[in-house]
Symmetry: C2
Subunit: 182 residues, 2 copies
DNA sequence: GTCTATAGAACGATAGAC
DNA sequence: GTCTATCGTTCTATAGAC
């Protein structure tokens, strides 16, 4: 499974062969297909595995600190996990094509995360920590977009400082969200 | 070439066969390879073609209006060009892997666009339209990230309103950039 | 400039022995 | 549970006729 993650991150789903994954764990290709009934199921197993681990890690920070520190912590953590970031970036790009095995997975994933983010921002509005007239439905996709987009640029050029840029963004955004009026 | 764009956008580089492109223009696959010496060269030809057209279109808006209206116009235009947006999103995702035929192309492309954006923001600082203490080096990647990241979400779910979200972002950013102090 | 034919390799998946 | 063998397909690219 670790081997599959590494190879999928390097070459994507279409560029990764079952034989290559099998070789990485010193097994034959039919041997690998004994544990996963098809290449597509292997991909989905990898995605679910990653989601489970990530969700556990993030949930802790989110409960303890606020939403902004939690988001910044995710970006800082991602900067130490280049391989996993590449895994998701490569697979999301591929899956934008309809009919891709992970298409529905990512559609659901983004929708879920956006809804969670909107719900959290709404709660801050109710608590008076965020201005009532802030358009949280429009801004939630922006927050996710910044995280994803910075990952692309960072993968293409490691000199990009994701955490620095993201915190410049959150500073601008939160100063706005918390401002008293127009 | 139009056929190549359509298929590359739908299936990416690895998922697109020369035979499929050839069939789209009712030609044999070796016939296609008469015009492009290899599949890789076909990909690069498509990218250069797209870049040339896009650059012309954007240059006009950028010269006439300011930088913010130009950026917003690009996003609005992209929302009417789903196929081209998908082309770049799919190929960028794939090219994040080293050794991909378009890897160097996108590395150079992002670096160039970031530099242009930083230069333009610096000029606004010199003109007193943007605060001197704004960290334009950190914010330039954020602006590109928002555009790219919104495209991904929009491709996965067409109900996402890229223009609306992007303008919510620029509104927040510019109110900050133009603010008199602290 | 376009074709047919084909080389040469890689792929996912299955069959069946052990 | 892991293997060897192999089927059937698909792919890029080349050779060579017209």
């Amino acid at each position: 499974m670790q081997a599959a993650i590494r190879l999928l991150a390097q070459r994507g789903y279409r560029g990764t062969s079952l034989a290559a994954v099998a070789a990485e764990v010193e097994m034959s290709q039919p041997g690998l297909l004994h544990h996963f009934p098809s290449k597509e199921r292997l991909l989905l197993a990898v995605l679910e595995e990653r989601d489970r681990e990530d969700h556990q890690r993030v949930a802790g920070t989110l409960a303890g600190d606020g939403i902004r520190p939690a988001l910044e912590a995710v970006v800082r953590h991602n900067q130490t996990a280049r391989e996993l970031v590449r895994l998701f970036t490569v697979l999301v790009g591929e899956s934008v094509a309809e009919g891709h095995p992970a298409h529905d997975y990512f559609v659901d994933r983004y929708q879920r995360i956006r809804e969670e983010l909107v719900a959290k921002l709404r709660r801050l509005q109710a608590d008076g920590e965020v201005r009532e007239d802030a358009d949280v439905e429009a801004l939630a996709p922006v927050i996710l977009a910044v995280m994803d987009g910075l990952q692309v640029q960072w993968l293409l050029d490691p000199r990009i400082d994701m955490a620095l840029s993201f915190e410049a963004f959150t500073a601008v955004l939160w100063r706005q969200l918390a401002a008293p009026a127009g």
